[in-house]
Amino acid sequence: MPVVCALVPAFKVEVARLTRPELRERPLIVVDRLERGHALAVDPGAYELGARPGMTLLQASACAREAAIAVDEPARCAALWEEALDALDAASPLVEDAEPGVAFLEMRGIEGTPRAWLASARAALGAVSAGALPFRLGLAANKFVARAAALVADGSIVRPGAERAFVAPLPLHVLDFADYVVERLSLLGVRTLGDLTALPHGPFVRRFGPEAARGHERAAGLDREPLVPRPRTLRVERSLFGEGTAEREEQVLFALRTLVARVADDVALAGKRCGYLRLSLECEDGETLELPTLLAQPTAQAAIMFDLLRARLEGTVLASPVCGLRLGAERLEEGGTERSLFAGSDPDPEVVAVALARIEAALGPGSALRARVTSGHRCETRYAYETFDARGLVRRAPHANAAQATSEEGTLAYRVLAPREVGVRLERGRPVAVGGRAVVEVAGPWRVDESWWAQALDEGALPYASDAYDVLLADGTLWRIVHEAQRWYVRGAYD
């Protein structure tokens, strides 16, 4: 199977250079953020100076002082890569998106010579703005060797049967071995893939584990991993522009109902179900309001789509009359919706999704949340909130649908209060009055001492230390108070 590999080494670095051409002549480190950030990618120049992905920004800049720093632009990276993949569709119907910066094209059954295949891929990339990235192309019988060919030199072609000889002089870094494995192999005198293939397969795999088996095969120019083509993206989009404008909500909803019916028909005709809707309202003053809407479960039913979009529109205020609507259906999926045999009384995810959209329309984005327990030592780090997603409402198995435990004893609950400074009177180091109220019982202190190492390691984090007490006041209130930075705060109440 002839495979073309289209490769951009250090993809994030090249995207940063595309945005800022003045960085082309300097070693470059791409970080996630400037404050307490980490290096995501480094160019060969910065790598030579000692910077490595995963280092903190301080560590990477200390290693490569002359290197420039650029902040990652994930949205731009994703957009450019998507554009490149769409362009490569013109060269082959089967394109695998291995990772940002690496794509494989299946060329079997396509007429032409290997050189013509490479030329067609290059021409496809040249037609889009992402083609300005320094793409390297390689062609071989399998994905691993094609990638190695692209790494060695742009336009390399490895003839069938010559794979083993081609990869033999390449260093071990071409394989995805962990650094410590490469280091251990180097100590054993194994530095190239040719050296690696000279080792007996069985003992080598027993020593280095199952991952080594794949590496050993690849070192011999074999790669059994099949090409996994990315799904074809199909978009359904309809727009509605009339002669007049819609000034009232009912007029907009009337037009929306018509538009939704057309889109739903198109989706159903394609035999798909839509998971994402993108509604654009074009106003008379030239403004365009975008309302992206995630569906709880993919559907082709117009009524469900309309209910959800109407809920999204409820909290929307338009500055001027609407002169046009555009509705796109995305994330189209095959097949129907799986329903459990015991799902009769389950909450309908679509109804829940409409309610969530209404909540967000009424109270603003981020108003429909789900709590999650996380690990941490401090109260505020032991939980987190995330957006409530109706798609996560999976019916549990009937046997797991246990009845509520009933016992004489319940569990005392705890309420997190907004931190409020309070006066505390101490006697022999113990609180005896809080906010002017006598303390009947006290327990603690429980000390939390975090990030004390951060300053020593120059990680930029601030140390945190506090003493917490549980106090029972004379009026029956049960508070958790915290002594932090010479001040006392009420942090929570047991209830």
Partner: protein, 246 residues
């Protein structure tokens, strides 16, 4: 004075009727006021369920009233556990910046609440909380919706009571005391009082909160006998602790 004298016989008759009814309720067996299994949401406390005639009836507004530390959040957490463990959904509308703060998710999880099936809605004011309750009740997908005991006009409570009835959900208001309007529209009111806070260990670092004993009194119940009370025992679980020593 004259008016008082004129109404005295009527007031005496009313007092007599009340005493008769109280006697009848007291003499009746608990089964006489037990609601059907599917018509209630169990609190998980057998004593309180018995006092309520089986549990909190569905389709009503209910209140849990009491000061901070009275155990009202513990009862609410147990009800949320019941609502979410059976495959249903629960909702918690709260004001994190308000006086009451917000329920601590690890303590909810320790009480048995399935956090994946619990919707948390932070509302900035009473109007937002009422609107969120309105939307969730209209969806008819949430078995229990917990809100702060808001001070809302009667017309808002009328609407919420009607929606709760239609969706067969429990709208549970938590607070120090219900407003006059809420008292009127709530079909069930339970007052909670702390009786004793239990501690374990000798003192200082070795002293730790062990739990609390709480008394729950049914102040009002439109579908069963009011006036009953139950003693509840709540333990404090280490898994729910708001921080750990390092």
């Amino acid at each position: 004075m004259a008016l008082s004298a004129a109404t005295q016989p009527r007031r005496d008759a009313f007092a007599e009727l009340r005493a008769t009814l109280a006697g009848a309720h007291g003499a009746a067996s608990p089964e006489a006021f037990t609601l059907a299994e599917e018509a209630v949401l169990r609190t998980g406390f057998p004593a309180l369920d018995a006092a309520l005639g089986g549990g909190v009836p569905r389709g009503i507004i209910a209140t849990l009233e009491g000061a901070s530390g009275s155990g009202r959040s513990a009862v609410a957490a147990r009800l949320l556990a019941g609502a979410t463990l059976g495959g249903g959904l629960g909702a918690l509308i709260e004001s994190p910046t308000g006086v009451e703060g917000s329920l601590y998710p690890p303590s909810l999880a320790a009480a048995g609440v399935d956090l994946n099936r619990l919707l948390v809605v932070p509302a900035q004011d009473a109007g937002g909380a009422a609107r969120a309750a309105d939307v969730l009740l209209r969806a008819a997908a949430f078995g229990l919706i917990v809100i702060p005991a808001l001070t809302l006009p009667a017309v808002a409570w009328t609407r919420l009571a009607g929606l709760a009835h239609r969706s067969n959900a429990v709208l549970l208001a938590l607070g120090l005391e219900a407003s006059d309007e809420l008292r009127y529209f709530a079909s069930l009111r339970v007052r909670l009082r702390p009786r004793e806070v239990r501690w374990a260990g000798a003192g200082g670092l070795f002293r730790a909160l062990a739990g609390a004993d709480v008394e729950a009194t049914v102040l009002k119940h439109k579908r069963a006998a009011p006036g009953r009370s139950a003693a509840l025992r709540c333990t404090w679980l280490e898994a729910a602790a708001p921080g750990a020593a390092v």
